[in-house]
């Protein structure tokens, strides 16, 4: 039974193991043990803190196999993106170029450096063990990704009313981003990874400040760069779909480095907030019903699993002993349940 919970300092060994395996390197999961420790400590403090509005909190979740105690994934939430510095994204604006005299009316898109996402809560740091990147592991990926929104929905004060998530942009077989080649490279003359490394682990903001200050006209970019604008990387298609299931939508924003899509959601309209219901726990065998995200706990303690539930709220949540164990609940406790897939979702 897999379940998601906040990371603890005692997870450091396991986290380090995953950090070393993660490809590409995740900013939320640094390979350096001391840096990693700082991140986990910040996360523990964040979960512990009494928070009235989002600040510099950082929440790191891990997915644990209850049977073996090993960890098999991480995901995280930055409570306020760019808390102490601006968070940059390109906003894809439509400009109308019209002339009555010449009977011309053209819509031209231009990418403008925007700080609009600054201060919004951001989902990040998704890493799942390679052994779970199979069709059977799909439910685990849903759990690991969407447990974050279950936490957000249960702790509204800790997060902004709108949440976003940045998807990896398109790269070719050699890992080269056509967008970076057409834009970033012109400003840096180097590979993105190299710039990222040379920034000495500083924020992306730091790098962004060397990027173009004036809008970039999309039609003037090379065709290859235009084609990948707002397109998710093949490797993140599942993550992309999972976000759509939650209710995220592609917005006008793209990443400034690889033009990967920025997905946004109003928390009110997220599946976790709008289609969740509290159900009392019942003893049950599990299975046969529809898959649900089942979560328990408030701000400080939090656990989430995927379980199959039948019936309605009145029928309660029949959970197997494993599930109850993973959640740390007993009969008559209440759990929050959200269908994993939207009934009307055309994405299923």
């Amino acid at each position: 039974m897999l379940f998601v919970r906040p990371a603890r300092l005692s997870d450091l060994d396991e986290l380090e193991r995953m950090a070393r395996a993660a490809q590409p390197v995740l900013h939320s999961l640094p390979r350096d043990r001391r840096t990693l420790e700082t991140r986990v400590a910040l996360s523990e403090d964040s979960f512990r803190a009494e928070v009235d509005f989002p600040g510099e909190e950082f929440y790191l979740f891990v997915m644990e196999d209850a049977k073996t105690g090993t960890l098999c994934g991480t995901s995280s939430i930055v409570a306020s993106a760019g808390y102490s510095e601006p968070f940059y994204a390109f906003r894809n604006d439509a400009l109308i170029h019209a002339s009555r005299e010449l009977k011309v009316n053209r819509k031209i898109h231009a990418l403008t450096m925007s700080h609009e996402l600054t201060g919004k809560s951001r989902l990040t740091g998704f890493y799942i063990d390679p052994s779970l990147r199979t069709p059977e592991g799909e439910a685990a990926a849903h759990l690991l990704s969407r447990a974050r929104m279950m936490y957000v929905a249960a702790n509204r004060k800790r997060f902004s009313s709108e949440v976003f998530s940045l998807m990896l942009g398109v790269t070719d077989d050699a890992g080269v981003s056509p967008f970076w080649e057409a834009v970033g490279r012109k400003f840096f003359g180097r590979d993105f990874e190299q710039v990222d490394m040379e920034s000495g682990g500083r924020s992306r903001t730091f790098i962004a400040e060397v990027m173009p200050t004036y809008p970039l006209y999309v039609p003037l970019l090379p065709g290859e760069a235009q084609r990948v604008l707002g397109e998710p990387n093949r490797r993140t298609l599942l993550a992309y779909d999972i976000h759509l299931e939650e209710g995220f939508e592609p917005d006008r924003f793209v990443d400034i480095f690889d033009a990967g899509p920025v997905l946004t959601i109003a928390v009110d309209k997220s599946a976790s907030a709008s289609s969740g219901e509290w159900r009392p726990v019942r003893d049950g065998a599990g299975g046969n019903g529809a898959a649900h995200l089942v979560a328990v706990g408030g701000a400080h303690e939090f656990r989430c699993v995927v379980a199959e539930l039948t019936g309605t709220r009145a029928d309660g949540a029949a959970l197997s002993a494993d599930a109850r164990g993973a959640l740390g609940v007993a009969e008559k406790d209440t759990v929050r349940c959200v269908p994993l897939h939207q009934a009307s979702g055309e994405l299923q």
Binding site: L95, H97, A98, S99, E101, L102, V104, R106, I108, A110, A182, V183, K186, F187, F188, G189, V195, E198, S199, G200, R202, F206, I207, E209, V210, M211, P212, T213, Y214, P215, L216, Y217, P219, L220, L221, P222
Partner: protein, 343 residues
């Protein structure tokens, strides 16, 4: 003698005939009788001090006085951009740098500019292919600087000249294809036609309003910026010899260079001098350099080229030359003495 003179109302027929020699491509001088008559009338009003500043402009024709054949035209606009805005791109430099990242990148940015508003502009030069022999094109072009030197107070401080930009072997403008075409979806020739028919500022309003990073454009477009059309290279050389320079302004459509300078720095303004006319005989010598000579009349300005130099404040003209320039013994002429040929 071949002279360049101010256009006269009676020249319209000859202008229409001359314009028929232009063929496709050159769009500023078309056999359009109405437009040509209006241009002649505008020049007349300018000379008569009867034109508003925004419309003031001079127009000259080149005539072979032996035959009365009108074989070339050229013009000067007194102050551009006072009615429809005068658009250019200014090629600006921006440096994106971060010491901590070890980055220092110099980039070029194209900014829409009206910097040249109020400049005088030398323009509309066309010489019949029948007369494209040594020195004639130079006379036609440089006669304008003689006019400016003589009537300095009729002009502002600065002057510019727009030159046609680079076109590839297929007659396509790589700059237009990389920039302008996306904003209009019409062919360069169509834009050029509209532009020469007073629609340039309408077109300009459709152009990118934000600066364009030159370095992000295709190489072929980058390389066309500030580059002169093959056929215009001699004109550029002549203007540069006169003192005009490329100062990072280019055309918004084909990125052809705009050359500019302070009028006070024009070679003709600095070096031409007044002299009194002496009429006499002179033996022509093979290959001798020619000086530019003009009269000092505003309404009947005439400029020609002949051998000789100012000696003791006087310049020797043959009787035929004096007649062609409409001057008599003792009249004042302006002379730009031929420079010795570079060795």
């Amino acid at each position: 003698m071949i002279v360049v003179r101010c256009v006269q109302p009676g020249d319209v027929d000859a202008l229409v005939a001359l314009a028929q020699e232009t063929g496709p491509g050159l769009t500023t001088f078309k056999p359009d009788r109405g437009a040509l008559a209006a241009r002649v009338e505008r020049a007349r009003r300018t000379l008569a001090n009867d034109a508003q500043p925004f419309e003031a402009g001079y127009f000259f024709v080149m005539e072979d006085t032996a035959t009365g054949d009108v074989a070339g035209v050229c013009g000067i606009e007194t102050e551009v951009g006072l009615e429809q805005p005068f658009y250019n791109y200014r090629v600006a430099t921006v440096v994106h740098a971060s010491q901590d990242l070890g980055v220092w990148t110099r980039m070029s940015l194209l900014n829409i500019s009206h910097d040249l508003t109020g400049y005088a502009e030398v323009c509309s030069l066309f010489l019949s292919p029948r007369y494209r022999t040594a020195g004639v094109g130079g006379l036609l072009s440089r006669s304008r600087f003689m006019f400016i030197a003589q009537f300095r107070d009729r002009f502002p401080q600065r002057l510019c000249a727009e030159l046609r930009g680079h076109f590839d072997e297929n007659g396509e403008s790589p700059f237009w294809n990389a920039v302008g075409s996306h904003f209009y979806q019409i062919h360069f020739n169509e834009a050029d036609y509209l532009s020469s028919h007073g629609k340039k500022s309408f077109l300009a309003e459709l152009m990118p309003r934000y600066p364009v990073y030159l370095d992000l454009l295709p190489d072929s477009a980058q390389q066309a910026v500030g580059v002169t059309h093959r056929d215009t290279a001699p004109a550029r050389k002549m203007l540069e010899a006169e003192g005009l320079r490329y100062e990072n302004h280019v055309d918004i459509f084909d990125a052809g260079p705009v050359l500019e300078c302070h009028i006070a720095d024009l070679r003709t303004v600095r070096e031409s001098a007044l002299a009194s006319v002496r009429i006499g005989e002179r033996e022509a010598q093979e290959g001798e350099a020619k000086s530019l000579v003009s009269n000092t009349s505003l309404g009947d300005f005439r400029c020609g080229a002949t051998a000789g130099a100012v000696v003791d404040g006087a310049f020797l003209l043959t009787a035929g030359e004096a007649a062609a320039l409409r001057v008599e013994e003792g009249d004042t002429v302006r002379v730009l003495t031929a420079q010795p040929r570079a060795k």
